[in-house]
Amino acid sequence: MATDLAISVTGLTRRFGARVAVQSLDLSVPAGTVYGFLGPNGSGKTTAIRCMLGLLRADAGKVSIFGESDPVRRLDGVGAIIETPRFYAWLSGRANLEICEAYLPEHRHGQIDEALERVGLASRAHDKVSGYSLGMQQRLGIARALLGRPRLLVLDEPTNGLDPQGMRDVRELIRRLAQEGMTVFISSHLLSEIQAVADTVGIVLKGRRVAEGRVSELLRASAGDSGAVEIELGGPDLDAIRREVAKLDGVSLLPESDPSRVLVRSERLPASELNRALVSQGVALDALSVRAASLESLFLSLTESEEVQ
């Protein structure tokens, strides 16, 4: 049923001259979930978000939000941050929110204090925005997006400029909002951030969707039916480890960015068996850890396969 989807994007295409920024993009964002929208820089994420919000005209395709496709009406019930939020710097944080609230329908008024409270800016609400740090402006942007209790919150890189504490606060806020039934569509290049909060993800590369689904399902599919695992090995003689690993059946070497480690993919051998096999060949190990399946490894494998194509 259409209303089970918070966002439905079908065949969205947007070109800038000869360059295709978004190409036949399809997205299905279930209502009441936290949806992570992933992609490397320049993959078309922000362009797609702008098309959804009516800031850019799409060359083709259809966007509907909670079943509504009219470009103005579909924004009723949506709060958004697009890239770094900007404000009228000579006005206070509160005055900025009041101006924004004036543009909302009346039934969405009266939530300024609550929004400021939620992002921890209530005590600085009357200060001019010109005196705010980048992190405070980011939080004020979230407060602005929360005005009028939207059903759908669209956050494009919401943790930009935030310190670790601020990032944790945003993460917790997103979880709380999701628990209250709000759909959160969050775009970020910080994969660990997305993995920490998202139920469902969509991954775009070069303007096309290459994967979409529940995080757990995608990770399972990425590991394969055999239950392959990635194991990180360390020791005094890394060449010896590589030599012996190459002789083992069902174990393959993977490229590793850390030069003090060897990364292998084991199709059959569990870590304990791999350890035993290497020690029995006289190879000393001082580190062995199984890498948890992560969005990062899924993302990198998809990126690599796209580059090969």
Partner: protein, 275 residues
């Protein structure tokens, strides 16, 4: 349930929000201060000339014999001073700030991601600018009018003041045209300076065309006075009719300019990609 009235309560709140922005910026405040000070300055100058003018000669005649300092006439000088360069320049600047500057500093993006038709957003900005212009005119007239009526000799009957009073009203119509023209140019430029240059270049081109039309008239190639009256430069000066006689072509031109610029600006704003 959503109201079916396209210009409903939200629209007027949008206008108030835009006006709040204008009145909280130095440019808006300075514009209103100048509007209040100009009539006082003109009044002081006129009184100074009146006081010392008898001893100052021009072409062998006392300066005071060259102009009459009557209330309605002085109010007309105040209107001319109000519409001479400085305040129109401020009006162009604040108009450009509401569209071109907001586009350049990305504050427009947040407004356009809210559930309002873009034409309504542009119209709210236009209405706020027009309100600022009306406050500026009311301020100048509110200070200049009593000064001229109470402290300057001259007729007291209403009929003697009607012409100049209509000049002040027509001045608001001229401001409406200038704001519409500026909003149109703001849809092409993302900087206040760019818009200022665009408006000035546009009006200079208009002046040149009107000059060519005058030459054509002198050479009796074809009658051009009506066409010249419709041109933007002449149309924006329709208020001058209080002194030289009203030109209906200039008012027609002003109406066409205002509606045409608003329609084109709305069309462009509606289709604009906002980054």
């Amino acid at each position: 349930m959503a109201t079916s009235n396209p210009i409903g309560g939200v629209f007027w709140r949008m206008v108030a929000a835009e006006l709040r922005k204008l009145l909280s910026r130095p440019s808006g405040v300075v514009m209103l201060v100048i509007s209040a000070l100009l009539p006082i300055l003109v009044f002081a100058l006129a009184k100074a000339v009146e006081g010392g003018g008898a001893s100052v000669s021009a072409n062998g005649q006392p300066v005071t014999s060259l102009f009459s300092l009557e209330g309605p006439k002085l109010l007309g000088y105040m209107l001319t001073a109000r519409n001479f360069f400085v305040l129109p320049l401020f009006l162009v600047m604040v108009s450009a700030q509401l569209v071109a500057e907001e586009r350049a500093n990305f504050t427009l993006r947040a407004l356009l991601a809210l559930p309002n038709a873009r034409w309504k957003v542009l119209l709210a900005k236009y209405a706020a600018l027009l309100t600022l212009a009306a406050i500026s005119i009311a301020g100048s007239l509110g200070i200049g009018g009593p000064l001229c009526f109470v402290f300057v000799e001259g007729p007291r009957e209403l009929a003697a003041w009607q012409g100049v009073a209509f000049g002040w009203v027509a001045s608001l119509a001229s401001d409406a045209g200038l704001i519409a023209l500026t909003l149109l140019i703001s849809t092409f430029s993302s900087s206040v300076a760019g818009v200022l240059v665009g408006v000035i270049l546009g009006l200079m081109a208009d002046l040149a065309i009107r000059g060519l039309l005058q030459i054509a008239e002198m050479l009796k190639l074809f009658p051009t006075s009506q066409v010249a009256g419709l041109m933007p430069g002449r149309a924006l000066a329709a208020w001058e009719g209080y002194a030289d006689g009203w030109d209906p072509w200039a008012f027609l031109g002003l109406g066409l300019l205002t509606l045409g610029c608003l329609a084109l600006a709305t069309f462009r704003f509606q289709r604009e990609d906002v980054l």
